[in-house]
């Protein structure tokens, strides 16, 4: 007799070989999808959202591409997840991590077909990953002590990161921007202090780093457009109608005259509040919430510059930059810390008026103004710059640096190969496979650049046979080149994260021998 149905109606179950097939295929499909974006000559993708307006994104950033995909395959979701984590944790290498995991699975598939148990493959991969990490650790360069060299390192890393993005034309310009911005942070990884303002118009080259702080707001009517030696009060308070917060309070009147009285009282209250604020001895007032016309007028009368409705991040950053505190009550002016800056003025970028604070007390924060031909361009530029900033800020903390251009992969592959030769048993097949997967990354870079990858990789392998080689792929000239001369560097932290996350993800997918998909939750039909 037939076995009773175990699972609910639409639930499916895949077992053994079929499950493994499904997850391999899914994971590799994802890897192949982003593969073409890898490297300096990688191509971009257009993503169109299904939401309203069908907004379009053009990007080269692996994490952004994968985030926007609607994926049904569970194994593919694992890869999307690792790419997201890579983005959150180190900011760059989001494509590499997916490609490497995909290659590891592709190799694993071959091994599984050759009847090697997944657990054996996993234990081989683990040994290989450990060995690869150690190989990298041996080769790292740390220039933390030498400020000059360290800055040069940062510059190189920034250029390398940017070279695969839309900014590659002006990579030197942007690398300098990014390095300057990160150096100002003095070791903190708080990227919030770096503000990026996007203004369409002009060309990418016109982008600049501003030492001060720019607020994308207009100055109120009739208020001074330029203030020197500004004392700034940063506030988060209601400047419309100050609500009575006591629960259940309401106004009940019985005649028009009383309405008028209360209105007067209300105005009086506001006037008092404004007066209190002015009593702080300020000449600039920035509020997070709206400022109504009436108080704005009062401020204008007192010659105070009032800026309303700054967003929360803006307020925080402004407080950080000017050294003031965010105030919400104004009863004791003597103890509130005011922010200071040398000059506030209204400036024009393109057609927009912005407020510029310069000569600020704390030098940490700064603003990068991006200019570009179209919003898509600017969005992508922002993402690329964000990647570069992330990598740089991480590098400032962990200053170990490697060469780029496929060099680390070749170093790891060599070490892993040696390990494979020494390891007895079936695991050595898995270790060998790991080294093949590592080589796939430079191969992809070369392929994407339209070069003869087989030839180049063979040359590279021969070069690396020599001790202490610094050879990598020079995509620009299409040959094997010396990476240290070309100045192509990458952060150790990024490479390590790529290696470990990819291995972890591959391991996770390999361990699965059954996929159970529950029936999708039904949307209720309202038709």
């Amino acid at each position: 007799m037939a076995v009773e149905k175990l699972l609910k109606d639409e639930a499916t179950e895949e077992k053994g070989e079929r499950a493994r097939m499904a997850s391999f295929v899914g994971a590799m499909a994802i890897a192949d999808l982003v593969k073409t974006t890898l490297g300096p000559k990688g191509m971009d993708k257009i993503l169109q959202s299904t939401g309203r307006g069908h907004s379009v994104t053009v990007t080269n950033d692996g994490a952004t591409i994968l985030k926007s995909l609607h994926i049904d395959n569970p194994a593919a979701k694992v890869l999307v997840d690792i790419s997201k984590v890579q983005d959150d944790e180190v900011g760059d290498g989001t494509t590499s991590v997916v490609v490497l995991a995909g290659e590891l699975l592709r190799e694993a598939e071959k091994l599984v077909n050759a009847k090697i148990h997944p657990m054996t493959i996993i234990s081989g991969y683990r040994m290989a990953a450990e060995c690869a990490k150690n190989a990298l650790l041996e080769k790292v360069v740390d220039n933390k002590l030498d400020a000059e060299k360290f800055k040069a390192d940062l510059m190189k890393i920034a250029m390398t990161t940017l070279s695969s993005k839309i900014l590659s034309q002006d990579k030197e310009h942007f690398a300098k921007l990014a390095v300057d911005a990160v150096m100002r942070l003095k070791g903190s990884t708080n990227l919030e202090a770096i503000q990026i303002i996007k203004k369409p118009g002009g060309s990418l080259k016109d982008s600049f780093l501003d030492e001060g702080f720019i607020l994308d707001k207009k100055i109120g009517v009739g208020q001074p457009k330029r203030i020197e030696n500004a004392k700034i009060l940063v506030a988060n308070t209601a400047m419309d109608t100050d609500k009575v917060k006591i629960y259940g309070a309401r106004v009940r009147v019985d005649s028009m005259a009383k309405v008028a009285e209360i209105e007067v009282a209300e105005k009086e209250k506001m006037r008092e509040k404004v007066q209190k604020i002015i009593n702080h001895g300020i000449n600039c007032f920035v509020n997070r919430q709206l400022i109504y016309n009436f108080p704005e007028e009062l401020f204008a009368d007192a010659g105070v510059l009032a800026i309303e409705h700054a967003d929360f991040d803006g307020i925080e950053r402004l407080a950080l930059v000017t050294g003031g505190e965010i105030a919400s009550t104004f009863d004791n002016p003597e103890s509130v810390k005011l922010g200071h800056c040398k000059l506030i003025e209204e400036i024009m970028i393109g057609e927009d008026k912005l407020i510029h604070f310069s000569g600020v007390e704390m030098g940490q924060a700064c603003t990068i103004v991006l200019r570009g031909a179209s919003p898509h361009m600017l969005d992508e530029a922002e993402r690329s710059l964000h990647d570069a900033l992330c990598v740089l800020s991480q590098t400032v903390n962990d200053s170990r640096v490697l060469l780029g251009g496929g060099w680390p992969e070749m170093v790891m592959a060599k070490a892993v190969d040696e390990l494979a030769r020494k390891t007895p048993g079936k695991r050595s097949h898995a270790i060998e496979a790991f080294s093949r997967a590592l080589v796939a990354i430079p191969t992809t870079i070369a392929d994407n650049a339209g070069l003869d990858s087989a030839e180049l990789i063979a040359q590279l392998r021969a070069e690396h046979h020599k001790e202490g080689s610094t050879a990598g792929i020079d995509v620009i000239s299409g040959s094997v080149g010396d990476m240290s001369e070309l100045g192509i560097s990458e952060a150790f932290k990024v490479k390590q994260a790529v290696l470990l996350s990819a291995t972890e993800a591959a391991e996770m997918i390999l361990r699965v021998d059954e996929i159970i998909t529950c029936a999708p939750r039904r949307r209720e039909d309202r038709m």
Binding site: E504, M508, I516, C518
Partner: protein
């Protein structure tokens, strides 16, 4: 079938709308039930042991879970069949009671059902089989006690505990760093354990996870980690020797429960009300300051004004802290949870040596660490890992390890793992079977065969020849009279589980056998299944 005849020979209907129901009776019903029970066991069978595989589960909302934990697999499987649901319950109760061995118990029940099916075909009555199983389970239960070893450990010698936790962890994906995780689990349990009463409150161990970093970065914090940040961005990020006021009242004007209205009809009233409102905030903050608090942790939100006042008076504060976390903080810092500002006194403040905010990665994630607490009885295990699924799975694995460590503290008897206990029980049950006259003898023998299923599955999952390996080990056990011989899953070259340091808790094993027998008995007793037929 469901027709009966009254005294005039007219049929009348007992079951309503019977054509819409399907009905299975007698042997058919039992066989159908056994088949579905077996099907569930078959799913879990491959997850058993250190070389067991994982399952990937996709929930109705599309979220993916990858796990090796029997209870989790079954819970997420969206099972429809009633008997299968019983198996799910079985695994869950093992999880609640013991925390580990959730896969084993289902595999065991599946094997018992399989044996029962054969006996049913022989024509043995299901109740007799059930009774035989009951007898056999009692024999096995006692035999386990007989072969169990006492396990000596103390707060200083925790090595044995770690070894046991490692056995649990070795079947999970985290086995790469099982040693360090086992150490973390044992230390955490010992930190909160009450060794005299032999009790451990696992609620005191908080397991937090954050994506990023690597598994090796997982750490044990003697204190609390809260996934929150300071309420005001400019508050100090680090406080030493903090005195913590733990509040469950919001920094907002009070909201009386009775409905009331304050009518404002004159200007004077309007103004008094305003002043009162300002005074409220001032009073609240002042009260906290007066008792000497240097950190305020609040379950509710703050009004903007109150927030600024706190900042202004240099009183850092954390808002929206969950109730459970609040309790843990109270336990750890020795403070009292204060529900009203009026009741705030210096004695009710909690103390912690260091409170700091820590940022992660490139995003805005911040967490607050409360360390060096007055009372270190609450600890946090902070897991890092490459992706969300990894963290979730690590959480589950650590939970298992924590449970095992707790069980050992409660009862320090252990049996050896690797299927050795099952084999030994099987031998004992087999030998005892002959003493029973009557049909039960067959059931008892079947039980012995079913016990072999676990070592068999272990061997199979490890890529060994199941029958060959099992028989070799069994004969070795009898020949050497050594109950520690088990399946050599990791290919280390020895069968002696004492040398391999593979242990399991005695109560865990006993519970497995009892629970599995109970469920099987229940399933065997069903002889009629009435269900609405498919339309």
């Amino acid at each position: 079938m469901a027709l009966a005849f009254d005294e005039f020979g007219r049929p009348f209907i007992i079951l309503k709308e019977q054509e819409q129901k399907t009905r299975l009776r007698g042997l058919d019903a039992q066989k159908a039930n056994i088949a579905s029970g077996k099907a569930v066991a078959r799913i879990l069978r491959t997850s058993l042991g250190p070389k067991g595989m994982d399952k990937m589960l996709q929930s109705p909302d599309g979220d993916v879970t990858i796990t090796n934990d029997g209870a989790t697999i079954l819970e997420q499987m969206d099972v429809d069949n009633q008997i299968a649901k019983l198996m799910v319950e079985l695994s869950r109760s093992q999880d609640y009671e013991i925390g580990d061995g959730t896969t084993g118990v289902v595999v065991m029940a599946g094997a018992l059902l399989e044996q029962a099916e054969k006996l049913l075909e022989h024509g043995i009555h299901p109740i007799r089989i059930a009774e035989g199983y009951e007898l056999a389970s009692r024999i096995a239960f006692e035999h386990l006690e007989h072969i169990a070893h006492k396990f000596e450990f103390s707060a200083t010698n925790i090595e044995p505990l770690i070894q046991t936790c490692m056995t649990t962890l070795s079947s999970k994906i985290v086995n790469r760093c099982k040693r360090s995780l086992a150490e973390i689990a044992v230390k955490a349990v010992l930190a909160v354990a009450d060794l005299e009463r032999k009790d451990v409150n696992l609620d005191l161990i908080k397991v937090e996870g954050k994506v990023g970093g690597k598994l090796e970065d997982t750490e044990l914090i003697y204190g609390i980690v809260v996934d929150k940040d300071m309420s005001h961005p400019q508050m100090p990020k680090q406080i030493e020797d903090a005195k913590i006021a733990i509040l469950t009242c919001p920094f907002e004007p009070p909201k009386p429960k009775t409905k009331h209205k304050v009518d404002i009809d004159t200007v004077e009233k309007f103004q008094t009300l305003r002043q009162q409102e300002q005074k409220y905030f001032d009073d609240m903050v002042q009260k906290c300051k007066d008792v000497g608090a240097t950190l305020v942790i609040c379950q509710w939100g703050f009004d903007d004004e109150a927030n600024h006042l706190l900042m202004h008076r240099n009183l850092p504060a954390v808002r929206w802290v969950g109730g459970v976390e609040l309790e843990l903080i109270a336990i750890a810092t020795g403070g009292r949870i204060v529900p009203r500002f009026q009741e705030l006194t210096p004695e009710k403040l909690g103390k912690a040596g260091l409170v700091r905010e820590k940022a992660f990665g490139t995003t805005k994630d911040r967490m607050i660490y409360i360390e060096h607490c007055a009372n270190s009885r609450a600890v946090t295990i902070f897991i890092r890992g490459g992706n969300k699924m990894m963290i979730e799975e690590t959480k589950r694995s650590l939970h298992d390890a924590l449970c095992v460590a707790r069980n050992l503290i409660r009862n320090n008897s252990i049996v050896y793992g690797g299927g050795s206990a099952e084999i030994s029980c099987s031998v004992a049950v087999e030998a005892a079977a002959d003493k029973y006259p009557g049909v039960e003898q067959y059931a008892i023998r079947a039980f012995a065969d079913a016990l072999d299923a676990i070592p068999m599955a272990l061997a199979e999952n490890s890529g060994l020849q199941p029958i060959e390996t099992l028989s070799a080990v069994k004969s070795q056990q009898i020949k050497e009279n050594n109950s520690c011989c088990g399946i050599d899953c990791n290919d280390t070259g020895t069968n002696d589980m004492r040398e391999q340091n593979v242990f399991e808790t005695l109560i865990g094993k006993q519970q497995q056998i009892l629970l599995a027998t109970q469920v099987v008995k229940m399933i065997l007793k069903i002889d009629d299944v009435i269900s609405p037929s498919d339309y």
